[in-house]
Amino acid sequence: MFPNDLLCRSILFPKSWPNDVFDIEALLRLDSVDKNVHALSVASRYLLETVDGAHKYGCRAAVAGNKRLEEKNQRPPAPVAEAIHYLGFYDMRYGAVTDISLNYYEIQIRWRFENGEDAHFQIELHPKSGDSTERQRKAERAAARALLATCLAGPYRHICACDEAFRQDLETIEMTEFAFEQLGMI
């Protein structure tokens, strides 16, 4: 990847939902992938080719999430109230993310083929060697989410064809706007 390559983060409602109560960092949850490594799922805009390609990727993620909910609860999730709806994506510039400097973690962006998705990448936090307490690392993971939020631009909004019946509900959901200048393209 090159510094100006773009990564996108899908907006899946309500799983990761920033609004007037939740801040944008709610969208940037770092999952624990093993004991020490924490990761945020993103996708390569280059591999998805177009904005439409990025939307289709997000739609597939929502469908897969709803399928998992249905298997778990033995019933389909109720639309809007329970189900996951894809609402669009934010962009982040690869170089802006790798420029983030942390005290206890090193940021790496890795290609991680997942659920048949070639375009899936992870922004990973790998612990640096040296002394640090769990409290310090935990606080820094929160800081990392805030720092990643400063890299966002968008959103590109979208309503999937399968969500057409709920368009009115979904379109009224407010989303924080970040200027595209924030991408810091050279």
Binding site: P18, D20, F22, D23, A26, A139, A143, R145
Partner: protein, 136 residues
């Protein structure tokens, strides 16, 4: 002038408290779940911010199930207050330069709470009696 109960600030704080309570009732695997202890401490802090200080209502995000982060955003600065059990971590960050300043705090006494809220720039409201605040 006393704050109106239906004023914008009051509505935001009330929504924040209600949401924190709801988050503690979610199943543990939910992305928005926080544990009961963190929720109780967060509620206490938010209530004090609301009633005893002239500080804007924060937003928030849940962090790893056992902590809650309150956030204040201005054009230049972002402030995060991470609440986990009795630990409080304050981070101030310049959004453009990414320079940040971190502090470990705790709130074992009402005075601790008063000191760090003053650092946030929140002036005690004139009617405030922080020593009577319900701090766990």
């Amino acid at each position: 002038m006393p704050e109106r109960p239906n004023g914008d600030r009051s509505i935001r704080f009330a929504k924040l408290l209600e949401t924190i309570r709801r988050m503690a009732r979610l199943p543990e695997h939910d992305d928005f779940y926080i544990d009961a202890k963190t929720a109780a401490n967060s509620e206490a802090i938010v209530a004090v911010l609301w009633n005893n200080f002239e500080l804007d209502a924060p937003k928030m995000f849940p962090h790893e199930g056992d902590s809650l982060v309150l956030t204040w955003d201005s054009t230049v600065l972002k402030r995060l207050l991470t609440i986990a059990d009795e630990d409080l971590d304050l981070l101030e960050m310049n959004k453009k330069s990414k320079v940040r300043c971190e502090q470990e705090l705790s709130f074992k006494s009402p005075d601790d709470l008063k000191n760090w809220i003053m650092q946030l720039g929140g002036l005690p409201s004139a009617k405030s009696d922080i020593s009577a605040a319900d701090v766990p």
